[in-house]
Structure formats: C-alpha cells, structure tokens
C-alpha cells in the first residue's frame, strides 16, 4: 500500500515480569499519517507494549528502528527524543492551572525577569498548537473546569508541543460521549494529514474499522495477526482475540434448581456511570458479571453495597430494600470481596485473627467489650474451615500468599454470616494452584445455600465456573447468557462495542 519506510518499527520485542511473559516477540510498524489499531483482551499485552514504547518499561529483547535507523528506548527521555508521546487513560494534568500552563508545564517560555513566565507568549504558542488541532478553547481556562474530552485534547496538545510525531492513544474514546468522540476523530484526521503516526488501542469494533489503516491483534503477549481493515471482519478479529484453547478446568456441579432470589436489581442507575441495570442472583447460583475493564462491573458491585449513591432504580437483598450504605448491605447479609484485596479487603499489618473478625464485631462482642476467647475461637474455626495456611491467628496477614489472603477476606464475611457474596476479580494476583482452591471454596459457599455474583476479566473462569452470566458494555447490561449459551466468543461479542 505504501512504500515510505515506517516512522517507528518494533522487531521481536519481548518483556517478562517475574515469570509472566507479558510480550513475546512482538513486531509492529507505525507509518506516518496512519492509525495502527491495537486490539486484544484484557491482559493481552497492550499496556505493556505501550509502556515499552514510552520508555516506562525497558524491553528484554528486540529492536527499535526510527526512520529505518536502529535506536534504543531505555527511558522516558529516549522516547521523548524520538518524538513518542503516550496519552494514557489517566491524565497527567494539573487541575488549577490554565490550559496553556499545562501544555508548557516545566517548559514555560521565560519572561524578562529571571524565573518569571511570559504568559503572553505562552498563550500565543498554546493558541497556535490548539489552532492546529482545531481547538477553540481559551488557553487561559483552568483545566479543572474542562470535561474529559477537552482534557484529553489538552493532553494531545501537550504531546504535540513537544514535537511528538508518534502518538500512542490508550482507549481514547472510553470516557467520551458520541459528540466528543466525533471531535476527537476530526482531530486524529488532522494529525494524520500532518504525518503523525499513531498507535491506537481500542475495544470498539466500529472505530477499529472506521479509523484504522492497519489492525494488529495481540493475545497472551503475542501478535496473533495483522490485517488491513478491508480484508477482515469483526468476527475474524474476535476469534483472533479469543483464539486460545480452554486449558483450565474447574470441575463443578452446576446448579440445577436455584433457590429464592438473593439479589435483585431493577433499573439501577448511578452517577458512577452504570445505567438501567437489571439483574438477579438466586441462592445456590454462581452468576458471572463479564465485560471489558471499564464497562461498569465494579460500579455495579459498589452500587449493591451502597458505596456509590444510586440515582434511580431499586436494589433488593434477600427481599429487603437496600437504600443505605455498606453497613446496611452487611446487615442484609451481603459481602463484598473487592478487587484490590490489599487496599480494600485487608488491614495488611494486622493479624489474621484481627482481620477475620473485622466485619462481625457487633455479633462477636455484643456488649462492646473485647473478648480474646471468642475472638480466638472464631479465628481458629475459620482457619481450619478454609484451610488458611498460617501458623496461627497471630500471624500478620501481609506475609501470607495471595491465595491465603483471599481466603482471609472470604473468612471475614463468613464470620459475619453473609449469604450473598460479590467477588470482584477473585483470582487476581493468585497463582494457578490456589485459584482452583478459591473456586472450590466459592463452590462450597453456594452448595451451602449462598448466592454468588462473580466479576471476572478471565473469560475461561466465567465460562467454566458460572451457572450463567451477565455481560456488561458501557455501563449497561448488554446481554445474559445461560449455561448452554456461554462461550468466550459469545461473551466477547456481547462485550465489544459494535457499530
């Protein structure tokens, strides 16, 4: 299609983190004036690739070529010198400085007096860059007053002010409305015409085909295919993304006759971004909540627990309306096993025993007096029942393995006599052996009549463990799959953003 050499070429890039091969022999070419779309499931290696490009991580193996010349990217300074800029999903803007000040932060044009800034010149230069991007914003506006889309534009302007010729965009439309997305696309069009090369990570099929000149799919750290948009279809891309054989088996007996309704959400919307959520979980069931990162799964969990205020709709836990905060959810029998175990689920410097009783203090000590005897009884009972590998209840939780820490979190809620468990990524950071044990534990919970809602990014986990699953997309429930309908392809098709 083109004979010009690529602006940046990656050959055989590999990167591993303590035993996990995050990138395995990945090659990629970025051409001037082209958008190269990167697709892949969560954990396919897109973020690692991006971090290697901006110099935040150093590749273990592989070569970079800039306009055909071999170069090294050993740190952020190298990347900057090559004109590579990354627009992360988390912005690096200072809220109470103006747009112009943010664009030139640390590189302000000097004023007449030493140390001073020439605001006039800075605004003029900012204006020039913004004009180039078609931004009509006043450069003196404080960033704190801008919407997400405008902040993103400011990030891009900042990158261009550093003469970036290679732009890496990480799901730039994830937080944008349709209108804002149009604006961003027009800007990307302008950049293309100026010969900027772009790598664009996306989860939306529509934009993959409308914006991309090339498409590359990553899976498990490997490049599994590169296509031109006209020679492929969304279905082919999805099958490339899933590809792998199902190699994990979690044998369990699926639920044939679910019990009474444990959780019922009707039309729940919250300011956190979820809209019109309808779902039901019955006793004895493990129900999955699948979807891409950022599709609103965690927000559903937080809404159930009253951690985020609900704007409309109703949530019932065991037939009782949940309208209060986490304390009420706990009283109604709900338990949340959060995604970030270490910051939200455990007090790491406290002992196993102390963590185990955290959620059941009123029940254990109804008169408010601490009783070492009942605390010890509870702790020993749970350590035995969950087979937590610890020398005793006095051991600090922080020194246990990930799997055992997770067991302590679960134990904490068992002690509180919870009957509805919401797991948010229950196997994150847990090794393979311990995963099976955690699933066996979850299975034993539902066998005893508990209800489980399980959020997971690992599609095989959802497919193999859950009795049925909901799939979320952009803050809504995009669909529901029964045991027989469930497959990784079906989940991904529902969860991806089609036109």
């Amino acid at each position: 299609m083109t004979t010009i050499p690529p602006l940046l070429e990656l050959r055989g890039i590999s990167k591993s983190f303590t035993g996990v091969q995050a990138l395995d022999d990945v090659s990629l070419q970025l051409f001037p004036g082209e958008v190269h779309m990167l697709l892949g499931e969560n954990g396919a290696g897109k973020s690692t690739l991006m971090k290697v490009l901006c110099g935040a991580h150093t590749a273990d193996a592989g070569e970079f070529f800039h306009k055909g010349q071999p170069v090294t990217i050993a740190g952020p300074a190298d990347a900057q010198r090559l004109g590579i800029a990354v627009i992360f999903q988390e912005f690096t803007l200072v809220p109470y400085l103006s747009v112009a000040q943010n664009i030139f932060l640390g590189r302000e044009p000097r004023g007449r007096l030493p140390g001073t800034v020439d605001h006039g010149l800075m605004r003029k230069q900012a204006r020039a860059i913004m004009d180039q991007l078609g931004m009509t914003l006043d450069p003196g506006t404080a960033v704190a007053t801008l919407g997400v889309a405008q902040q993103q534009m400011v990030e891009i302007a900042k990158a261009l002010s550093q003469d970036a010729r290679i732009l890496v965009l990480d799901e730039p439309t994830a937080a944008l409305s349709d209108n804002e997305t149009d604006k961003l696309f027009r800007m990307i069009g302008k950049l293309k015409s100026q010969g900027v090369a772009m790598a664009y990570i996306s989860h939306r099929m529509a934009e993959v085909f409308s914006m991309g000149e090339r498409i590359t799919v990553l899976r498990d750290g490997k490049k599994v295919g590169s296509r031109m948009p006209h020679e492929t279809t969304p279905d082919e891309l999805v099958s490339l993304m899933v590809g792998r054989k199902v190699d994990m088996s979690y044998a369990r007996e699926f639920c044939k006759s679910p019990g009474p309704v444990a959780l019922r959400m009707r039309g729940v919307s919250a300011r956190s971004g979820i809209r019109g959520i309808d779902l039901e979980v019955r006793a004895g069931e493990i129900v999955g909540l699948a979807g891409l990162v950022g599709s609103g799964r965690t927000e559903v969990a937080r809404a159930i627990f009253g951690a985020d205020p609900v704007e409309s709709g109703s949530i019932e836990i065991f037939g009782q309306r949940q309208s209060g905060g986490p304390a009420q959810a706990r009283r109604l029998g709900a338990a949340l096993i959060p995604e970030s175990r270490k910051t939200q689920g455990l007090a790491l410097i406290r002992s196993v025993g102390q963590n185990l009783m955290l959620a059941s203090l009123p029940r254990l000590f109804p008169r408010g007096w601490y009783s070492p005897a009942s605390a010890a009884t509870l702790a020993n009972e749970l350590i035995e029942r969950l087979r937590i590998a610890t020398p005793g209840p006095d051991r600090r939780v922080g020194v246990l393995s990930g799997g055992n820490q997770q067991k302590v979190v679960i134990g904490k809620w068992l002690a509180a006599q919870s009957k509805l468990f919401v797991f948010d990524e229950p196997t994150r950071g847990i090794d393979v052996g311990a995963k099976a044990e955690i699933f066996a534990l979850i299975d034993s919970l539902v066998k005893k009549g508990a209800a489980v809602l399980m959020i997971s990014s690992e599609l095989p986990e959802i497919v193999n463990v859950c009795d049925r699953t909901y799939v979320m997309r952009e803050g809504c429930v995009a669909g529901h799959l029964t045991r027989t309908e469930m497959s990784e392809e079906a989940i991904l098709t529902l969860g991806m953003h089609h036109a």
Binding site: L93, V94, P95, Y96, L97, N102, L105, T145
Partner: protein, 328 residues
C-alpha cells in the same frame, strides 16, 4: 468599606477578583462572610465602622497576612506548617534580645530571618526529602522552636526595645502606616511568584498532579523545600512587625497564630486537595479573621471565645463550599 480595600493591591487585583469570582465561584463565600461580619459588627459593636478602627483592623491583620500567604502555598501542596507560630515566637525573642543589645534593626532582622530559614529548611527537608507527613514534621519543629524560645528567655519577657524597631509599627510612609506598606509589598510579591513564575506553576502542580511534574522533568522536591523555606523566612519577617508592635520579646508572643493562619486560608477557599488555591481568598480570609477578632474585642468578648468564633467561621465557610460542590 473603603479602608478594607486598602490591602487590595490595585485595580488590576479587583478586576482579577471579579473575573475569578465569576469563573470559579470559589471563595465568594469568604467575601460574603467578610461583608456579613462587617455589617454585623457595624450594627452591634460601638465604633466598629470608625475610620480609626478600620485602619486598626488592617494594621492588626498585617502580621497574620505575612504568615497566611506562605501557608496558602503550603496548603496548596497538600501540606501544612504548624510550626510558624513557634518559629515566629522564637524569632521574636531572639530579635528582641539582639535589638536591645545592638540598638538597631539590621542585625536583629537578619537573625530573625536566619532562624526562620533554618526552621523552614528543616521542615522542607523532613517533608520533601524524608517523606515525613507535614503534620507530624512541623508538629515536631513546633515543639523544638517553642522550647528554644522558653530556654533563650528563661521564660521572661525581653523589654527595652529601641525606638528604631518600634518605629516600624508606628511609622508611616507617605501617610500609609509602615506595616501596611510591608503587607502590600508582601502580597504583591506572592502574587507575582504564584501567578507569574515557573515556581508558582510548580506549586499548583505539587498539589494538583505531582506525576505531571516529574514527567515534565521538574525537580519537584527542590520546589517543595523552597515552599517551606519561604514560610520560615516570612515568619522571621513577621517577627520584626510583632516585636515592633508589642515592644517586647515574649516567649509565648505568637503562640497559636498558625491556627488563625490556617483558618484564614481555609475561609479564603484554598483547598487541601488538588492544588486549588487563591491568594486573594487568603487576603479576604485574613481580613475576616481580623474583623471577627476586632469586633468581638470591641464588644468585650474574651479571646478564648474569639478562638471558638474563628473555629465556627472556618466550619461555616467550608460547609458553604461543601454544599455548593454537592449542588454542582
């Protein structure tokens, strides 16, 4: 009201004020509160609106302003300086002692600034280099400075301050009282530093997004140390006005002024998060605290009750802000 605008730097400042008020809506609560207090005391307190009293309020607010300006910068970096009152006190007794011995301003002011610089650098190093939380670090230096003030004076007042020092409080330049001249210059200097220098942009970024700073290759620790250093130096400068005002060195002279300063900054709409700050808001906050204390004095209310009133003022200001945020 005419005299209250005395400390507002210029027409430019007023335009800036109106512009910012319209744009952000923040700290307009402080202005409303200041106006409300003036009306209240105008009605309740005898002679409150007399020109001589209003000049008095402005005069009495100058020392607090010198402390509250750097406090604004520190709070914008999500920090705190609890030690300023004690450092100011220590500088006061040392300055007084040296002034009594030498009879002049020069050396005594230098020694006060040196004390401020040492404590400022110490605070900055503890916070920026060692990563000690500002609350704890400056609580420690508060104790050190306070203890030293008591040791140096043996718990006694230092009296016999030379006329040349006292003149700094009672004197005037072109009819404007000297302390007000100093306060105006200090305010303008802070305005230039915060809004027109790279350093100022870094102060915003230190509280707003430190990652943005480090990605931009800025040596941010250096700047953080500088912010605390400025606070110490300003405490040294304030010691000069304080000594001139009370004509003495006293080992508990400025104890607790950090409370008034933090209150003024908070009333002025500077936030403890995300680097949101506003110098003009601090000026309004300082005047509000000054008016409150003066008005209550005129009404014969004890200073213990005044502290409670200032606390109430802070809570009221922050409640208004919180309610407005929620309605946005």
């Amino acid at each position: 009201m005419r005299d209250l605008t005395l400390d507002t730097p210029s027409g430019d400042g007023m335009r800036d004020l109106m512009h910012r008020l319209r744009r952000s809506g923040s700290a307009s609560g402080a202005l409303v509160m200041l106006a409300g207090l003036c009306v209240l005391f105008g009605l309740l307190a005898p002679n409150f609106l007399a020109t001589s009293n209003l000049v008095n309020v402005a005069l009495q607010s100058t020392i607090l302003l010198l402390i509250a300006l750097p406090m604004t910068l520190i709070i914008m970096t999500e920090g705190l300086d609890l030690s300023v009152g004690a450092v100011l006190t220590l500088a006061n007794v040392v300055l007084a002692t040296i002034a009594v011995k030498t009879g002049g301003v020069g050396l005594s002011l230098l020694s006060a600034l040196a004390i401020g610089a040492v404590f400022g650098l110490l605070n900055g190093t503890l916070v920026a280099r060692l990563g000690i939380p500002p609350f704890v670090a400056t609580l420690g230096t508060l104790g050190v400075a306070q203890g030293m003030a008591l040791v140096v004076t043996d718990g006694q007042s230092v009296v016999g301050i030379p006329e040349s020092v006292q003149m700094l409080y009672s004197g005037a330049l072109l009819g404007v009282p000297l302390p007000i001249c100093i306060a105006v210059i200090a305010y303008l200097a802070f305005h230039v530093v915060l809004y027109h220098t790279r350093f100022g942009a870094c102060v915003f970024a230190l509280g707003g997004n430190r990652e943005a700073l480090s990605l931009a290759g800025v040596r941010m620790r250096w700047y953080l140390v500088a912010v605390y250093l400025i606070s110490g130096l300003m405490a040294g400068l304030a010691a000069l006005l304080l000594t001139a005002r009370i004509s003495a060195g006293h080992p508990t002279a400025a104890l607790g002024i950090e409370f008034d300063a933090i209150a003024a900054v908070a009333v002025g709409g500077t936030s403890f998060e995300r680097g949101k700050g506003w110098l003009l808001g601090t000026l309004i906050g300082v005047l509000a605290v000054g008016v409150l204390r003066n008005g209550l004095n005129l009404m014969g209310v004890s200073s213990a009750v005044q502290v409670a009133a200032i606390g109430f003022l802070v809570i009221l200001a922050l409640t208004i802000d919180a309610l407005r945020e929620r309605n946005v």
